[in-house]
Amino acid sequence: MRRNRAAVAVACAAAFVVGLTACSTGGSVGSNSSGTVHLVFQQFDPAAEVTGLQSTVSKWNKLHPDIQVDMQTLSPSNPQQLAREANSGSGPDVVQVPYANVAFLAQPKILLPLNSLMKKYPLAHGTGDLLAKDMVTFDGKMWAVPWTADTMALVYRPSALTAAGISSPPATWGELASDATAISKQSGGKTAGFCFGASGSATAAQWFAINYYMWNHGHGFVKKDSAGSWVTDITQSQLTSTIDYFNGLFVSGATPQSFQSVNDYTDPSIANGLANGSCAMTYAPPQTFQTLVKTAGDKVTTAPMPGGLKDGSTHLGGRGLAINRNAKHPQQAWEFIQYLMSPATFKTYEQYPASKSTLKSLTVPKNQDGFVQQLPHSVSFGRYIGSNMPVVSMQQLVNQQFSAVYSGQSSSSRAATAILSGLKAGIGG
């Protein structure tokens, strides 16, 4: 009897361990007994913005019964989860990666270098046709292929500007501040002149505007000097003046204080504000603007950001397509990537292609002129990549300190000092 109980205990323990082991193992999907290859494609845009992409994938599945693709959405982008999966030998086969994250995934070789596949099965227009190649190249190899390109354009309600006696959208940062203040005052506070997410979170919301302002004024947060070392690229007084500019938007009433708790440019208070007229101006990437148009219609349009037609004053962002190092069918994965890069994809997928030739072949609606005019002048965040400090860490440091000034916790000069010392410590490693 006792022996039986002991045997049961051992069996339970063994079953438990086996169960846990089974739970901890996974793997990318391979091919089944019928010879059909199954690939998992993971993308991170919100489900509402990818119906066009889903139809592109469905079309692929119809055309390629031997290579079936399952599109997964993991929103927002979570490169650390991808790293965890890849380090345990699993993960999606084809993955959409923001440009800023490619280097972090390339360094520990979580992605597959694409050079040999590109050589064997070249892209339709070659790599010379691609934008943002610097963002996907690491150690002399390409770890992702640039797929989409975007930037932030000024999104505004022409009627709100006209009501305040303003005939054209602001072309400089000074004009933006004065126009936004005039709109807020003229409307008696009913229409906020300039709406933007100004929270201290490590998000991209105010980070883009701050950088655009700085780049337009000839400086940035960090740069690589001629000796190849990372240094800060702004003086204390320049940074103080930048903080004062953004804080001035709240002080003048151009931006209501409530936007200090908004941490995303897709926040409903901005999107609804533009749609219902309680906001006159904001900035947004193409897909956010296209979503806004669905509710606001022709009441909103775009223009280049202030100073956005000056080279390097705005960022060239977007997403690359990469192959997981654990993919069992890299050749088929590459074939699928080439399909996703074709002009047909961008007829239904609301993004701009990172291929110059594909971009030229598209007919862009008139209200997206702001993006089209600005894109050729945009430069990637590659200028910040390569130091020991990830861009997201810079975002958190900068956003927190700007937010501390808006909320009265800190003065602009103290915040500038904190940012500079944080940057120096971060890039130094």
Binding site: R2, R3, G200, S201, A202, P256, Q409
Partner: protein, 302 residues
Amino acid sequence: MANSQSTRHEPLLLIGPALIVIALLFAFPAVYNIILSFQKLSPYQSPGEAIWVGLSNFTALFTNNQTAEAAWNSAFWLTTLTVVIRLVLGMAIALLLQSDVLARWKLRGVCRTAVLLPWMVPPVVAVASWKWILDGNTGVLNQVLVGLGVIPRGIPFLADTSTVWWSIIAIVVWRELPFVVIVLMAGLQSIPKDQYEAASLDHAGAWKSFLHVTVPNLRPVITVIVIVTVIQTFNNFVYVWLATGGGPGTYTQVLATRLYSAAFINNSLGQGAAIGIMMSVVVAIFAIIYFRLADRENGARA
């Protein structure tokens, strides 16, 4: 002989599964966290790529003045205030739910269910709803207050330093209050009725009965509530992170949000582990107090 050997090993075999669970789910992660706090490792690397850095993660932690600010916020705003408010409100609601008036009106069941509702809402949904209520532009609370003429324009509750902590406290108390109410109600139900009758014979009013009968009887329950809620709240990450992300500026940073930022934004798992150890030490002190009190209680009963 063989039989006696099997008898000797049997207890070990019987507790084996439990030991495996403890080792896999508790001991290994705890030990690995300690190891990690002496290493430099990013979330993109595998554990084998870690570099030993000695005490530098702890040095960085204790030389950063944000740590003291976050520790104060965790201890005072997030924990002490919310625990005290929960206890006071919880006691009031528990007494109300036990009252004869509610029983007479047959409202006891409905009221108890209503009190439990916030606990059924996932914390993420609760915070998202509260953010919508408290929004400075479109929030329901501001719309009502402006509509009634109480305030001229919306208050950005989660962006203003004078209101942000009270807003977070409101969210935590609303979501976590039912636990306190349930436990106190259980405690109230266990108080013998004859003690109240004796107090009444001694001409004790409601307040004196509460002070001299209810509170002494509930003391062990209150102790358990305080200890458990302190441990739960001190470690909490969700409420602050989702409501404010630690802002405005660093005004609502707590140790848990600092841990997340260090580990997953600054990509330093070692520094995150060091903060985790610091938090564990604080919580361990409370846990020890809790177990001591629980032992004393058991001893007294025995």
